[in-house]
């Protein structure tokens, strides 16, 4: 034992040294490019710092953060974001799961559908917003045309100008854009389930739903949690699509915290408070991730 350790020590590269050496390129890239901006933005968030008022710039400890508790616009946007995340994540996961289940069956045209499912992934958020704008358009939109021809509405509607309409349709546009990732991950999860399990369940005369609950779902827990983490983060930071589709309106119905942060920093040049907003987003993302991770831990299968 002792001799072995000595031998290891005599090697020119210990495992730890080798491990870090292999990480040098990636670490250099991350540290050089991101560490400084991240540190800087936290430092700025401790300042009163509006670019328009350089004379009033000063260090104020955590006042920006404390002020958030009475910042109505911020609290309201957090609420909008929370609703948005719940709606988008729920619909994405349910829709994605059912698509993955269908795609896991064998049927004619499965290959085609598996390719089609990737289509929305190829669409930049800004273009996604533009596309849905032409679909939801009040005057010439495809949705209006379709519903009218199907006899479901009597006249063209301005879908994005009612409060619920704007919120729900914006969420749906977001869902369409982020669906592929969910389907791929869940489909991948489904494909790892051994066929024998289903055969056994069928022999036991288990119904479709019973089989889903007892065989499929347990195997899907891990991919589902990955999807939940990443989709929650995504929906929480959704910006491009909303920016193009509604700009945050009507009123502040679709003003999410991400949108508000961008406006605070870039339009109002209030980098101090804006950075504080961004750090609250970071903190919430972190808490959500830790929540999911501890769920995974309890399932005994986790290692980052």
């Amino acid at each position: 034992m002792l001799r072995k350790e000595a031998a290891a020590r005599r090697q020119p590269w210990s495992d730890t040294a080798r491990g870090y050496a292999l990480n040098v390129p990636a670490l250099l890239a991350i540290l050089l490019l991101v560490a400084y901006p991240i540190g800087y933005s936290f430092w700025v968030s401790l300042h009163r710092d509006n670019l328009a008022q350089p004379a009033l710039r000063r260090f104020i400890w955590f006042d920006n953060y404390l002020g958030l508790f009475s910042d109505q616009a911020f609290l309201r946007s957090l609420w909008v974001s929370a609703l948005f995340v719940v709606l988008v994540v729920t619909v994405t996961v349910l829709l994605g799961l059912s698509m993955a289940l269908v795609l896991n069956e064998t049927f004619m045209g499965r290959g085609v559908l598996r390719s089609l499912v990737l289509l929305p992934w190829a669409m930049p958020g800004v273009v996604n917003g533009l596309m849905w704008r032409t679909v939801f358009d009040a005057k010439t939109g495809a949705l209006n045309g379709l519903l009218l021809q199907l006899g479901l509405i009597d006249s063209y509607q301005a879908w994005l100008t009612s409060t619920t309409g704007a919120f729900v349709f914006t969420a749906m546009a977001q869902v369409w854009n982020t669906l592929p990732f969910v389907v791929i991950v869940l489909l991948a999860g489904l494909s790892t389930i051994p066929g024998e399990l289903y055969a056994a369940a069928t022999v036991d005369r288990a119904g479709v739903f019973q089989r889903f609950r007892e065989v499929t779902l347990p195997w899907l827990m891990h991919p589902l949690l990955i999807v939940l983490i990443l989709e929650t983060m995504n929906a929480f930071r959704a910006f491009d699509t909303i920016y193009v589709l509604t700009g945050g309106g009507p009123g502040d119905t679709t003003t999410t915290v991400a949108l508000l942060t961008v406006q605070r920093v870039l339009t109002f040049t209030d980098v101090g408070l804006g950075s504080a907003y961004a750090w609250v987003i970071t903190l919430i993302t972190l808490v959500i991730s830790v929540g999911y991770v501890s769920l995974l831990y309890r399932r005994g299968s986790f290692e980052v």
Partner: protein, 295 residues
């Protein structure tokens, strides 16, 4: 289960449900995109006609032609976007491709270390990578701009490639590490018996087997770079580096060019990555199956 109908006469409910669902899903995925494709081949009058023309009655390619020859367009604002589209398309391709490659090069070594070497602090290091991803882009955009200005890289490909690499790298490492871990150790041991160094082992044994994972990771970083808007907006200013999302935002906010031209530019913005995912469709799903899912 008291039915007396013999098995072979049972209505194949499951098949029916699967086919109906498949058709509905296909429509859901395709129809919105089909609409802008159809519009991109219409004259402006037809695009805004009521009821909508689901199939262009008088198809035209003049919208696509206008990108090459924008003189024919009447535009007060936004005409710039039309002229800049071909350049932006090229820029996006270059930036996204190079980002994907740089990511793989940087990510492979780090991922290999996490999958094969037990070293002190490896968990903490992985967490550190993932942590950098949790800070929203807007928090770092101003300092990042300052860094790029100081390096004299504003309005160059490199500025975009570097920023997108930092976005995609943590996830790349995360995904790749699981792939490498899935490679049976015996194969590597065999290579080692043949006195291959770790680099040759990785190069000749681990990487080829992990091809689906590499593709999945590359596509992921390609998409990250292709889709990103805000950093592109600030780091670029001319056709030397403007990317498609920046141009698309021009169309959205300063729309004076026609709906149809905007639709055509949207189609162009989607086409290259779409071709990419279609080519690699099988590998992507396979890649995800072997990799991230097993955690």
């Amino acid at each position: 289960m008291t039915t007396t109908i013999p098995l072979k006469y049972r209505i194949p409910w499951k098949k029916i449900v699967v086919y109906i669902a498949a058709v509905l899903f296909a429509l859901y995925l395709v129809l919105p995109f089909y609409w802008i494709v159809a519009m991109s081949f219409m004259h402006e009058v037809d695009a805004i006609s009521l009821p909508p023309q689901w199939i262009p009655q008088d198809p035209t390619v003049e919208n696509y032609a206008s990108f090459v020859n924008p003189e024919g367009l009447q535009a007060l604002v936004g005409s710039r976007a039309v002229e800049e589209t071909p350049y932006a398309l090229g820029n996006s391709m270059i930036v996204a491709t190079l980002t994907a490659l740089l990511n793989l090069v940087l990510g492979v070594f780090a991922a290999y270390s996490f999958s094969r070497i037990r070293f002190r602090g490896s968990q903490a290091l992985m967490m550190l990578y993932l942590l950098t991803r949790m800070v929203p882009g807007i928090a770092i955009i101003i300092p990042f701009y300052l860094v790029m200005r100081e390096l004299d890289l504003l309005d160059t490909y490199l500025a975009l490639i570097l920023s997108y690499t930092t976005f995609a790298l943590p996830v790349t490492i995360w995904v790749l590490k699981d792939f490498f871990r899935a490679v049976p150790r015996e194969l590597e041991d065999a290579a080692r018996v043949d006195r291959c160094g770790w680099f040759r082992t990785m190069w000749t044994v681990v990487l080829p087997i992990s091809a689906p994972g590499l593709v999945a990771a590359a596509v992921f970083s390609f998409m990250t770079a292709w889709n990103e808007f805000m950093f592109a907006l600030f780091l670029t200013s001319t056709t030397a580096s403007k990317t498609m999302p920046v141009i698309a935002a021009n169309f959205a906010t300063d729309l004076n060019t026609q709906f149809t031209v905007m639709a055509a530019s949207g189609v162009l913005a989607v086409l290259p990555p779409l071709v990419l995912v279609l080519i690699f469709q099988r590998l992507i799903v396979q890649g995800m199956a072997a990799g991230s899912v097993k955690g």
